[in-house]
């Protein structure tokens, strides 16, 4: 199974860079994050990347579903999913391969932002701990959103619909923390746990708490598992 997943992974990762979408997404991401970061960087007069990382959840909520939207929708639309799933590979192999490809793509997209850290280090005394934590958190966050994006993509043949569904769910998780005053007090603890921003901020401060890790890993697992179920059911009901 793993060799099949690896083949899917390689094919999808190459596929990203053969389509113009990858370059548009990367450019948009770097422009947005760069602007958000540097527009306030000099106001704080502190050499740190907190401001960059604090914007990531909201940027990811839009960028990640754009990366994942075509992964299943396109295959369902063209019918190539039938060819893929009759090759000797399990549906979980397919899902894992595509998941890792999208996550790797996001990691490659984040890579140039290390330049921000070096610029900050040039200007002042940068504490590398939170920077490292921030990137770990960013990968976990990206993993969770990629999972959700894949699930959205498996639900529909239409890439735009997949993008909107994925973006809506990711956006909701992102802003949950700021909407807590609408929630009745008895449910507060549950809703506070559901928001992704707090968990992400904890990790990016360099505090590794199992509750935060568990949050991201369980979203990834649930979303990917749901995707395999959807794909199985889908092929059974579409005549």
């Amino acid at each position: 199974m793993m060799s099949g997943a690896l083949t899917v992974f390689k094919k999808e990762l190459r596929g990203f860079f053969f389509s113009p979408i990858a370059y548009i997404v990367i450019t948009t991401f770097l422009l947005l994050s760069g602007w958000f970061f540097f527009s306030t960087f000099f106001l704080y007069n502190q050499a740190e990347l907190r401001n960059f990382f604090s914007q990531l959840p909201i940027i990811f909520a839009f960028i990640v579903p754009a990366v994942t939207m075509r992964l299943f929708s396109e295959e369902l639309n063209s019918g190539s999913f039938e060819l893929l799933s009759t090759l000797p590979i399990t549906s979980s192999g397919i899902v894992i391969g595509k998941f890792l490809a999208a996550l790797t793509f996001i990691a490659l997209m984040l890579l140039p932002t290390i330049a921000y850290a070096f610029s900050a280090a040039l200007l002042g005394d940068l504490d590398w701990g939170p920077v490292f934590g921030g990137y770990c958190g960013a990968l976990l966050l990206a993993g969770a959103y990629v999972g959700i994006g894949l699930l959205a993509s498996s639900l529909t043949k239409n890439q735009i619909v997949a993008f909107i569904i994925g973006m809506a769910i990711c956006f909701m998780l992102t802003i949950f923390d700021r909407m807590l005053f609408f929630v009745p007090e008895s449910l507060l603890a549950i809703f506070a746990y559901l928001g992704s921003t707090t968990h992400f901020q904890n990790i990016s401060r360099g505090i590794i708490d199992t509750r935060d890790l568990l949050y991201f890993l369980s979203i990834m697992f649930l979303a990917l598992y749901a995707t395999t179920v959807v794909l199985k059911e889908k092929s059974n009901y579409s005549a």
Binding site: G4, R14, G15, G79, L83, T86, L87
Partner: protein, 312 residues
């Protein structure tokens, strides 16, 4: 080799397959025939583990599609209808990807791709993107996809649909070639194709098997008739009909109208075991008609197909 046992498939409130039962022997070329929507594609999709049956099962060797899909996928090469390949990939990259999926690597992979490029005639398009290819080439890339893992069983869903006549002949020859060593299951609604390529046909109508056997066997079982085609130079068709009607053993006489000015064309039906040609020829000689064409054939699969799959 392949056993279909009590196969049922229900989509919502539509029963696509009803208690299908048949077996396919090793090395056989089996044609699945039926009108559109009869259940050919559904049967193939269950065989290739893309769909799950509602009840019943298909066994390939000792494996069951319900329990060992991976083992079965390893033995089967499948070409779905209209070959939905990844359009943006180059042909070579695509074949390399399929080879990797089939567990081929390194030198073995390169060798196998070269072999298939040769058999499927892909040399001139190897470095083109798939979406640039004509329908015929796309179909051949699909065949290469199906044959990549050197599978024991090939499942081809309407492999010749949408191709031009030359390409159809090429693909048929390819199928026959492949069929010498492998078990081939393919669907079609072109009957001459089934007659030309298959060892055996299974005719499906509305999810049920209506006929199963070798083509000549089916013709004998269901049709059993012989037809003599006659083309004469004559002005009065009704007179010709009247004269021929005197011959014993004729079941039916059909005049074919588009024969042309001063010509009479007829199809004369009889039982297969009776040869009415000598009697017909005697009539023609007696009357002194100018005979242009005189030819006997047994009833075709086409008539039988129409008879078996007619509505109601």
């Amino acid at each position: 080799m392949i056993e279909v046992q009590g196969l049922n498939k229900i989509y919502g409130d539509f029963q696509a397959l009803k208690d299908l039962d048949f077996t396919i022997k090793k090395g056989e070329i089996l044609g699945l025939l039926g009108p559109n929507g009869a259940g050919k594609t559904t049967t193939m999709r269950i065989l290739t583990c893309f769909l799950q049956p509602t009840s019943g099962t298909i066994k390939v060797k000792d494996y069951n599609v319900l329990d060992d899909p991976l083992a079965i996928k390893n033995m089967i090469g499948y070409l779905p209808e209209s070959a939905p390949l990844y359009g943006e990939m180059l042909v070579y990259d695509y074949l390399a990807y399929v080879a990797a999926m089939r567990g081929l690597d390194g030198g073995l992979k390169v060798e196998r791709i070269a072999e298939l490029v040769d058999t499927c005639g892909l040399k001139e398009v190897v470095h083109k993107a798939i979406h640039e290819l004509s329908k015929g080439f796309k179909q051949r890339v699909g065949l290469a996809h199906a044959m990549m893992g050197d599978p024991e069983i090939l499942v081809l869903d309407e492999p010749t649909s949408g191709l031009d006549p030359n390409q159809i002949v090429e693909i048929r020859q390819l199928i026959k070639e492949i069929g010498k060593e492998k078990t081939v299951v393919f669907s079609t609604h072109i009957l001459s194709e089934a007659e030309a390529t298959c060892d055996r046909v299974v005719i499906i109508n509305r999810g049920e098997i209506v006929a199963d056997g070798a083509t000549d066997h089916l013709v004998r079982e269901f049709g059993g008739g012989a037809v003599v085609d006659v083309l004469l130079q004559h002005d009065d068709a009704s007179r010709v009909t009247a004269e021929f009607k005197r011959v014993a053993g004729i079941e039916r006489l059909e005049e074919i109208t588009q024969a042309g000015e001063g010509l009479v064309k007829m199809a004369i039906f009889s039982k297969e075991e009776e040869d009415i040609r000598p009697a017909l020829y005697r009539v023609i000689r007696e009357q002194g008609w100018d005979l242009l064409d005189f030819h006997r054939r047994t009833e075709t699969l086409e008539n039988i197909f129409a008879q078996l799959t007619r509505e109601n």
